[in-house]
């Protein structure tokens, strides 16, 4: 139980090795997810994030089944799916989204199949129900030293890549035609971003699970973009929010013994609702309608 003495509480929180691992991995994940999430919302690719995380589920299960790290399985499946999405949207000339009828049916079929496959892998491993839950809804218990090292490597590479492609990516997202004319390779950039997104999804699943990925990968970016339109500020805000959700969520889960996924999704949802509410109130007060991207 927390004593409400901050220093003592933090000591209490970090006394076990698994919590140290969870906090290190969580921090790395939050920074990467917050940064990538800003671009996800800006580019309207939240659906791709959803899809990548569900395709990652059998990957995690396969990693467990083959006695390698589940993170490795996640990375392999997510990367394959990202390249698939990249190729498919390159062929049809537009990005994969939920709006189109035949596309959403195709995507739904793939998602159900991949979740069914994940279930099979877990049964083959004869794992307990807890194993499935931790990959569907996240956990604070199961992060090994090896996972932390992998997460560090993935986060470093992905953040480095984002630093390199960040500026042209914003340009290419906001005005693809002008960017193209100025010599920016829009097609290559979008595939590069999908690869970064796949890596971000793969490590984020460790903390919040396949099904709750929106809470860390989309909600912080969406809230940040509601508050400010300036790229640098929104990006920083998205990272700060994502860090806050993760740290608070981990601490609350530790002290209450309730699932971490519940706390992180609730924090993300509450923040989003408050931000939207404040925005709506400001719009009403200024007496004019303003375009607010959803």
């Amino acid at each position: 139980m927390p004593s409400w003495d901050v220093v003592a509480d933090i000591q209490l929180l970090l006394q076990f090795h698994f919590m140290q691992n969870a906090f290190v991995a969580g921090t790395l994940v939050a920074v990467l997810a917050g940064a990538a999430g800003y671009f996800v919302v800006l580019r309207g690719q939240s659906f791709a994030a959803h899809m990548l995380s569900q395709v990652g589920f059998p990957g995690a299960a396969a990693g467990v089944l083959l006695h390698v790290s589940p993170v490795l399985g996640l990375i392999a499946f997510c990367l394959a799916a990202a390249l698939g999405i990249g190729l498919a949207s390159g062929q049809s000339g537009r990005s994969v989204d939920a709006g189109h009828r035949s596309e959403s049916a195709a995507v739904g079929s793939i998602l159900a199949f991949s979740l069914g496959l994940g279930l099979l892998f877990f049964r083959l491993y004869a794992g307990s129900a807890a194993g499935i839950y931790s990959f569907l809804f996240g956990t604070i218990l199961g992060i090994s030293d090896r996972d932390v090292e992998l997460t560090l490597a993935v986060a470093t590479i992905s953040l480095g890549a984002l630093v390199v492609i960040g500026r042209p990516l914003v340009f290419a997202t906001v005005d693809p035609d002008v960017a193209e004319a100025r010599g920016v390779n829009v097609q290559l950039l979008s595939i590069a971003f999908l690869v970064v997104l796949a890596l971000a999804v793969a490590v984020t699943v460790q903390i919040v699970g396949t099904l709750l990925i929106f809470a860390l990968l989309v909600a912080p970016g969406a809230s940040a973009l509601q508050l400010t339109a300036r790229p640098g500020r929104a990006l920083a805000l998205s990272i700060v929010l994502s860090l806050a959700f993760t740290w608070l969520g981990l601490a609350l889960a530790y002290f209450t013994d309730l699932p971490v996924g519940f706390f992180i999704t609730s924090l993300a949802f509450a923040t989003y609702v408050v931000v939207r509410g404040v925005n709506a109130a400001a719009t009403l007060r200024s007496g004019r309608l303003r375009f607010v991207p959803a």
Partner: protein
């Protein structure tokens, strides 16, 4: 075959699974036609939280599933949210709904014995072999009733889905029909959750319908094909899982996906030949 049908739980699974698949195939045809795939997905998430919330409150599993699905379907109908372009907001809401579901699950497991630990898995991934007798009766009857109502309103529903403006001009009561469809959709999702689980309802509601629409553009034939494929997928999945000790839901999702891929390939070939 005789050996298989001699088992009580297999007979139950064949009867109930068949009825549910019939309803899911029929209603699913309209889900794909009306591009409401993600409403079905959202209802699946709600079903997970609703069923566990119901259990936690001491109610029957079915009360929670049906109650929450119908309530949310009507809410979606009144808010008029078809979700296009608002996927960030919707995704955030439904991630939270699932998060609450996990909370209920963990509260329920701590409140009861540890033996209920697999309960969440059966809600998420289905437990067609473990149906209780009351679920068999209730599930079969509601599924057949859903089919009957769907067939009754199929004609105006087709009209409304294909050309809403002309349909309204011809006096089709669009709001009432849309609300009725959402209730049918909610009931079907709640039934399918028992068969294949909250996460895999796509395999019964979307994949057979998408396969049927690849095979035929004619509505009545498509509807029949969709229902037939759904039933075939469930029955073959049950037979396979009797001989091979893998989860039934895995076979059902894989068979549905294989049928979908085959229909895509068939369409490509037909296009080449034409």
């Amino acid at each position: 075959m005789q050996q298989m049908l001699a088992l009580d739980f297999m007979r139950n699974a064949f009867v109930t699974g068949g009825c549910i698949a019939l309803a899911a195939g029929l209603v699913g045809y309209f889900v794909v036609l009306r591009n409401q795939v993600f409403t079905a997905d959202a209802l699946g998430h709600v079903a997970f939280t609703g069923s566990l919330g119901g259990l936690l409150a001491g109610l029957n599993l079915l009360v929670g599933v049906f109650g929450s699905c119908i309530a949310v379907a009507l809410a979606i109908g009144t808010l008029g949210g078809r979700g296009r372009g608002r996927d960030v907001a919707i995704g955030t809401v439904f991630a939270w709904v699932l998060g609450v579901g996990v909370l209920f699950l963990s509260l329920y497991i701590t409140a009861r014995s540890a033996a209920t630990g697999s309960l969440g898995v059966s809600v998420l991934f289905g437990s067609i072999l473990g149906l209780q007798p009351y679920q068999v009766v209730f599930g079969s009857i509601t599924a057949l009733a859903t089919c009957a109502v769907m067939l009754l309103v199929a004609r105006p529903m087709l009209f409304l889905s294909v050309d809403p403006d002309v349909a309204v001009a011809r006096g089709v009561p669009a709001p009432a029909l849309t609300a009725l469809f959402l209730v049918l959709l909610a009931v079907t999702v709640a039934e399918s959750v028992q068969a294949v689980g909250a996460l895999l309802i796509f395999a019964l509601m979307v994949t057979p319908a998408a396969t049927a629409q690849n095979l035929s553009a004619r509505p009545w034939l498509g509807m029949a094909l969709s229902a037939l494929i759904a039933v075939a997928v469930v029955w073959v999945g049950l037979v396979l899982s009797f001989y091979v000790p893998y989860p039934t839901s895995f076979f059902i999702t894989s068979l549905a996906f294989a049928a979908y891929l085959a229909s895509l390939a068939g369409r490509q070939i037909a296009r080449r030949l034409a």
